[in-house]
Amino acid sequence: MKKLIALLLSAVMVLSLAACSSSKPSTTTPDNSQGSSSTSTDNNTAPAADSNFKVGVVLVGDENEGYTYAHIDGIKKAAAANGLKDDQIVWFYSIGEDETCYDKCIDCVEQGCKLVITNSYGHQTYCEQAAKENPNVQFVAMTGDTALKSGLSNFSNAFNQTYQSRYVSGIVAGLKVKELLDNGKLSDKNYDANGNIKIGYVGAYPYAEVVSGYTGFYLGIKSIVPNVAMEVSYTNSWFDITAEQTTAEMLIADGCVIIGQHADSTGAPTACENANKAGTVVYSVGYNVDMLSVAPTAALTSSTNDWSVYYNYAIKTALAGGDIATDWSEGYETGAVGITTLGSSCAAGTKEAVDKAEADIKAGTLHVFDINTFTVGGQKITSTFCFDSDGDFVYDQVEAIKDGYYDESKYISAPSFSLRIDGITEMN
């Protein structure tokens, strides 16, 4: 027996030694050389980054989850553009929205990070706590909304102006509705009692971020087809395939011809594709990722974010020793938002209409929340606040409307538009 164990042990040792000797070169060379060669060739702004500069990244999920994947992708692009090597980024995956987030932020600092990024809304208080204790390190709580109030110079928030791309995806949907209308594809079931065509929306939570998004989407459709009404149903989860699918099925059964979504899974597009195959007239507009793989017929497009625009700015600023803006928000003008490839079901002329809308938004001639395009309780809104100063979750400061439009994400980067406009009904 002893002999057998000894034999086994020695075999194992030999194996592991052999393996490590063979693995050694592979761990050191390819990634680094790739990183440095790409930076030296296709980047001229920051050829040689400070090799002691490190970025810490605390993520709520991992690369298997769409939302986090988009952030990982953005950070990797931004790091490459700024000449950072792989080992200059400290990654923490699947960190819950609890004290572990604080622990990991602190750990990033201990490992010498000068910039620490957390990517989920629920991370922000833990991130803020770490920022408070480490004034020499810059912290960014992505999609958060407390930096402005925190009074900390090293703690900031950032949020893309996603409502813009939602509006554009609304135009895509509107053109499809118009095509269906012109071709006589709509039945009585698709109209509500007031003669409006029904649109459905699978929302995650009844919060401003979602409200801002679906209002933008609705106004986009409305800019093409005036008589539309939207039904919003919440799943109370950012990611729940089953709930999103059943919610979408419910909306489809109710006669909705377009299903938009502010939830991260492929549940709603799948429901649309199934219904579409079964002969129901319904199309899907997704979020974050291209849904054509799961809904080749039903998917029109998805509104999406390119986080690398922000991460590029943040890393560049931190590298140069500058202060990152407390609240950062950009949209079409810098390419931070967009829509994915148009599906084959899109109406003719969609591409041109999208290009024009995007150009107008960039030029500042088209405003998504133009006060002439919507009413609340039958009234035009000419004044409203967008900032909650005392933490009671009711806006009590800062005028949001200027020059005839609600200036979303201007004062504070996180979406603030939470007016419930006419034509949209919350189902639950």
Binding site: K24, S51, Y93, D98, T125, Y126, Q129, T146, E209
Partner: protein, 411 residues
């Protein structure tokens, strides 16, 4: 040897060891640990193709420092092990929380009462602590801390009382009962998270009182909170010593061990078994509740279902490996926490999925628990010289513990 003999005499027989010298039992454990490292080394190589020795070095250092890449004078990148006080304190903090829960399990386990409800008892203790932090405003720190300790222990005691009471009066199965109580506690926690959610939509309570640090256990060596976790150490060590003394030298501790060994004997000796059940479970729950206080006020300053984070179950492993000796628990808790820190360190520094490192932790635990088997039992081979006479008892797998349970069940 005849064919018939072969059929009757199995190749390997397992028999219980009478006694094993201390050095031998530790030798078995060390061999177990080495084997675990070898096996996890193979796994690391197979899955990640990374030098396993570097992985172990990083794993070992994960609890007290990190390897930071620096460029030296010659322009080469070298990895330097940098000790981090903060990391050491975080490791100590986590050891203390796990230790506190394990110590809480000790009285119940010594009574052979399988309290698997520590998770829930920790959570209710944590909820009670958060409630104090939120609603008992304006108290001086020392008063508030004492109030939080009492309230959290009370909450835990209530959570322990019910399984004890039901076991005492209706002989309910305590494992199932305490397990079910966990789910209730977890749901209550989720509910309270929704009530205390801050900011709304974050699905998280956030750092509580982060402006005035009200209700935070202060640092021992500094005025800045979160700088060290000295008070956690003091509180938990006091409990550890107290429980050790309680179990070993007090009359109640003696009653517990008698009840644990044989309920009938206890009854015959005039011990009121029902009372011992209820009292011991209340004490067990109270200490776990205190662990909830330590975890919330002393560490996380928030509450979520991950406040207990499975540590209520890990503590069962700690308590078992330590044979319910609270001082040995310090070592075992330290080992498990260090392993855990090491796992997340290699996950982050190699950019590999955290699950890979959890596999490694699992392998190490498997071997450690497995070595206990070889300490308690021995394998006898057919060709062993001086084998026991053929009439020797065959395989006797169930240990003494099960014997006792049988007795209890027969009551």
């Amino acid at each position: 040897m005849t064919k018939a003999n072969l059929a009757h005499d199995p190749l390997i027989r397992i028999s219980k060891r009478e006694d094993i010298p201390m050095w031998k039992s530790w030798l078995v454990r060390i061999i177990g640990l080495l084997l675990a490292l070898v096996v996890s080394g193979i796994v690391i190589v197979c899955i990640t193709h990374i030098n396993p020795f570097m992985v172990f070095a990083k794993m070992a250092s994960g609890s007290f420092g990190s390897w930071i890449k620096n460029t030296n004078a010659a322009g080469e990148t070298v990895e330097v092990l940098t000790i981090s006080t903060k990391r050491i304190w975080v490791t100590i903090r986590d050891i203390m929380t796990l230790l506190c829960i394990s110590v809480g399990l000790a009285p119940a386990f010594a009574m052979k009462f399988w309290n698997v409800g520590a998770e829930g008892q920790v959570l209710v203790g944590g909820i009670a602590t958060v409630a104090c932090m939120k609603y008992f405003t304006g108290l001086p720190t020392i008063v508030l801390v004492l109030v939080m300790i009492v309230v959290s222990m009370l909450a835990g005691a209530i959570w322990g009382f019910f399984p004890g009471f039901f076991k005492a009066h209706w002989n309910t199965n305590e494992t199932l009962f305490t397990l079910m109580m966990n789910y209730i506690a977890i749901q209550i926690t989720s509910f309270m998270v929704a009530v205390w959610e801050n900011p709304p939509g974050s699905n998280s309570v956030g750092v509580i009182n982060r402006n005035d640090q009200y209700g935070w256990l202060p640092s021992l060596f500094s005025d800045v909170p979160n700088k060290d976790f000295g008070w956690n150490v003091i509180i938990v060590l006091i409990v550890t010593v107290a429980v050790f003394i309680y179990l070993r030298y007090s009359k109640q501790g003696y009653e517990i061990s008698v009840v644990g060994d044989s309920v009938n004997t206890a009854r015959y000796a005039g011990i009121r078994v029902k009372k011992v059940y209820i009292r011991t479970m209340a004490i067990s729950g109270a200490i776990c509740g205190l662990a909830g206080f330590v975890a919330v006020s002393g560490a996380s300053h928030t509450i979520s279902t991950s406040t207990a984070g499975g540590r209520g179950f890990t503590a069962i492993i700690v308590a078992w490996l330590a044979k319910f000796n609270t001082f040995t628990m310090i070592l075992i808790s330290a080992l498990l926490v260090v392993l855990d820190k090491g796992a997340s360190e290699i996950a982050s520094s190699y950019g590999i999925n955290e699950y890979v490192s959890q596999i490694i932790t699992g392998i190490i635990l498997f071997f450690l628990l497995g070595s206990e088997f070889f300490i308690n039992y021995q394998l006898k081979f057919r060709h062993n010289k001086g084998a026991e006479p053929p009439a020797a008892k065959p395989v006797q797998a169930p240990a003494a513990n099960t014997d006792n349970e049988d007795k209890e069940a027969n009551e």
